[in-house]
């Protein structure tokens, strides 16, 4: 199949026949290499994982709603919190960040007909799907699923302490999803480097695409380390090596170094794509260009660079790491993150804000992320971390952050969903869903901060009847119920709005190229393209009277 792009000569041209004939039904799904269909498969799978992982979260919260509760056995509790964390990080947040909307939107935003390597892209999805099946199948083997936490610390994860197929399935699943991520990283880098439309200089790329480029570079830096570590772990478990065991002369804490060398960049691999989504949404619904475009790009690159030097802030209490180095680097990362927050507010400042559902979720993201980012700064200071490490304070910190990411992701689905499906979602249900999610997230995390400061340890199935603990846990569980209701509302909204509200090509008066093509875009994305002279070509085309943006001029000679 050859891709042909025709320039925009006559705006009213009837769409020429550019139909794609191929298999239909299941065979189409199995054989497709179209980035939009692959991205849609990613989206559906990731949302399914969110629902499954969310179900486990509700089980955890029921267990913790009272001290000495017997809802789950200790063994079940360990499996449930391990699989909750593993599903959410490896199978939901990651693929949702760099596989779902990224796959669909990045090629369109730069005017490309597809990803650079369409078949590799399909392979990424199949590895993700089979990896997910592998991990979940742990529940069906004797001994049950993995139960050593989503971080798989040595020596708990060795053959003596975690015998059974569940642990090996966990390792195998991460091998598959790890390669899936690496291939996606390669693909996005190549697409952005080689398939941009004429005039689309790097500094005219939408911030979402920029963030995915940087995310992809981070994937290539981080994921191979995890994959190597998993192979070592497997060898320790089955081939008698002693890389992570003291008895054989190995070093258990080496696993933590390897894991977090992947693990901290991973949190930015999860975060940057959602930063990008919000950075697209806020300016569009404020009717302004993004505030501080180059500052945003610079902040993203700085975050990526620094994120390789902060991993051991997860290991402060091991007593074996260089505290000042990791503390300084972690505090430094707050600076570019702060620039981003400042620019999001700047983008809204004096804009004509349209409080659509997507915009509400984006604002909810900014507020919730601010809470998580600020408590991250507390944890980056070793004296404070010694006090709060392995308590619910840490759990609260990262749940503030990841609940923010969930809001960012849902903002993205409300914003770009119509582009892929051709139909809008119901705005009223969307807004109700937002308030449940936003209030639920705060009601869920804020008591956990207090519990952490009062010393409640994480990863415990039962807790003593200390004054106030039960009450705070009940509030947290109530918050979790609100979040659960918001998820149900999302599903309800999809069903209610099914093919009801046609979107048209450009429902939000968008800035970037995806709003120039049809909804859904044709095979190979474009019938025609506008001239690209700024970072908002579609807006320029639709508003010829507006003055051109100055920083859009290109510099490379």
């Amino acid at each position: 199949m050859t891709a042909v792009i025709s320039p925009d000569t006559h705006h009213d041209d009837a769409h020429e026949a550019h139909e794609h004939h191929g298999p239909t039904g299941v065979l189409k799904w199995l054989t497709t290499t179209d980035h939009k269909i692959i991205g849609l498969s990613y989206t559906v799978t990731a949302v399914l994982m969110l629902v499954i992982g969310g179900f486990f979260a509700e089980l955890i919260r029921v267990q913790l709603s009272a001290p000495y509760e017997h809802f789950l056995s200790f063994a079940q509790y360990n499996e449930v919190f391990t699989m909750h964390g593993s599903i959410m990080i490896y199978l939901f947040a990651g693929p949702m960040a760099f596989g779902a909307l990224a796959n669909i939107i990045v090629p369109i935003q730069i005017g490309a007909p597809d990803m650079a390597f369409p078949r590799l892209n399909a392979l990424s999805y199949w590895l993700y799907l089979t990896g997910s099946i592998t991990m979940l199948s742990g529940f069906f083997v004797s001994g049950g699923a993995a139960n050593f936490g989503w971080v798989g610390y040595a020596p708990l994860s060795n053959a003596a302490n975690s015998p059974g197929a569940g642990a090996d399935l966990w390792i195998g699943a991460l091998l598959l999803t790890g390669f899936s991520a690496i291939f996606t990283g390669v693909n996005i880098c190549a697409t952005v480097f080689y398939l941009r439309a004429p005039g689309m200089t790097l500094f005219r790329m939408p911030i979402f695409t920029w963030n995915l480029l940087v995310t992809s570079i981070l994937i290539l830096l981080a994921f191979p380390v995890l994959t190597a570590g998993l192979i070592m772990l497997y060898c320790d478990r089955h081939f008698g090596t002693h890389i992570f065991s003291v008895q054989g002369g190995g070093v258990p804490v080496l696993w933590q170094h390897i894991f977090w060398f992947w693990g901290h960049p991973e949190v930015y691999i999860l975060a940057l794509p959602f930063f990008g989504m919000v950075t697209e949404i806020i300016p569009v619904f404020s009717r302004k260009p993004v505030f501080g475009y180059k500052g945003m790009v610079f902040a993203t690159l700085t975050i990526a660079a620094l994120s390789l030097g902060v991993w051991a802030h997860h290991m402060f209490t091991t007593g074996t790491v260089l505290l000042p180095f990791f503390s300084i680097m972690s505090l430094l990362i707050a600076v570019p993150t702060g620039i981003k927050l400042f620019n999001w507010i700047g983008s809204m400042w004096r804009g004509q804000i349209w409080f659509s559902a997507a915009m509400l979720f984006a604002i909810g993201f900014v507020i919730t992320f601010l809470i998580g980012g600020l408590t991250g700064i507390y944890l980056a200071s070793p004296p404070l971390d010694f006090f709060t490490h392995d308590t619910y304070f840490v759990v609260a910190h990262f749940h503030s952050v990841v609940m923010a990411l969930v809001m960012g992701g849902i903002a993205g689905l409300y914003y770009w969903g119509p582009k892929i499906t051709g139909y809008l979602l119901n705005e009223t249900i969307g807004k109700i869903q937002f308030w449940f999610l936003f209030i639920g997230s705060q009601v869920f995390t804020l008591p956990l901060y207090i519990l952490g400061l009062r010393g409640m340890p994480r990863r415990m199935a039962v807790y003593p009847n200390n004054p106030g603990w039960q009450h705070l846990n009940e509030i947290a569980t109530f918050g979790a119920v609100l979040i659960g209701i918001s998820t149900v509302l999302f599903v309800v909204n999809i069903l209610v709005s099914w093919k009801k509200y046609p979107a048209g090509d450009n429902p939000w008066d968008g800035h970037t190229l995806e709003w120039f093509t049809t909804s859904p875009p044709p095979h190979h994305n474009f019938y025609r393209l506008p001239q690209i002279r700024s970072e908002r070509p579609t807006w320029d085309y639709n508003h010829p009277e507006a003055p051109a943006l100055t920083h859009g001029t290109h510099e490379e000679k």
């Binding site: 199949m1 042909v4 290499t33 399909a122 590895l127 598959l176 260089l322 180095f325 490379e556």
Partner: protein, 129 residues
């Protein structure tokens, strides 16, 4: 292309400096090694792009290119292909063989080899519809 190269080279340089400082200051080998390796990931593709960017004309996407310059033939893209699925299924069996017994490697490798041959042959034909 120059800018792409510069981004990777600057990242590589940053990791090289950070890695050296960390390694000397901490004396901890695993982390030092991993940051330096990260630097290489900046330098290798970065210097390759740099080398190329000096030997090719500035591309339309690196300047105020006109959309008409991108019109016409963009490249051959495979329309549909079963081989990514075959390869994925092969990898799935290969991983399951780590858990449930080595015999599963037989279907795993079989599918992988089939996909490799089939995929290459497909590319030679210039893709499919």
């Amino acid at each position: 292309m120059k800018l792409e190269a510069r981004i990777l080279l600057v990242l590589g340089l940053f990791f090289a400096i950070m890695g050296t400082v960390y390694w000397i200051w901490s004396g901890e080998n695993a982390g030092g090694m991993m940051i330096i390796a990260g630097g290489l990931l900046g330098f290798l593709p970065g210097s390759y792009y740099w080398w190329w960017s000096r030997r090719m004309p500035v591309r339309p996407e690196d300047r105020d290119g006109d959309v008409t310059e991108g019109a016409g033939f963009v490249g051959a893209f495979p329309g549909t292909s079963i081989f990514p699925f075959t390869l994925g299924a092969g990898a799935f069996f290969a991983v399951l063989s780590l858990v449930f017994g080595f015999w599963l490697m037989v279907p795993g490798l079989g599918l992988i080899v089939w996909a490799a041959i089939g995929g290459v042959a497909e590319s030679r034909r210039g893709g499919t519809q």
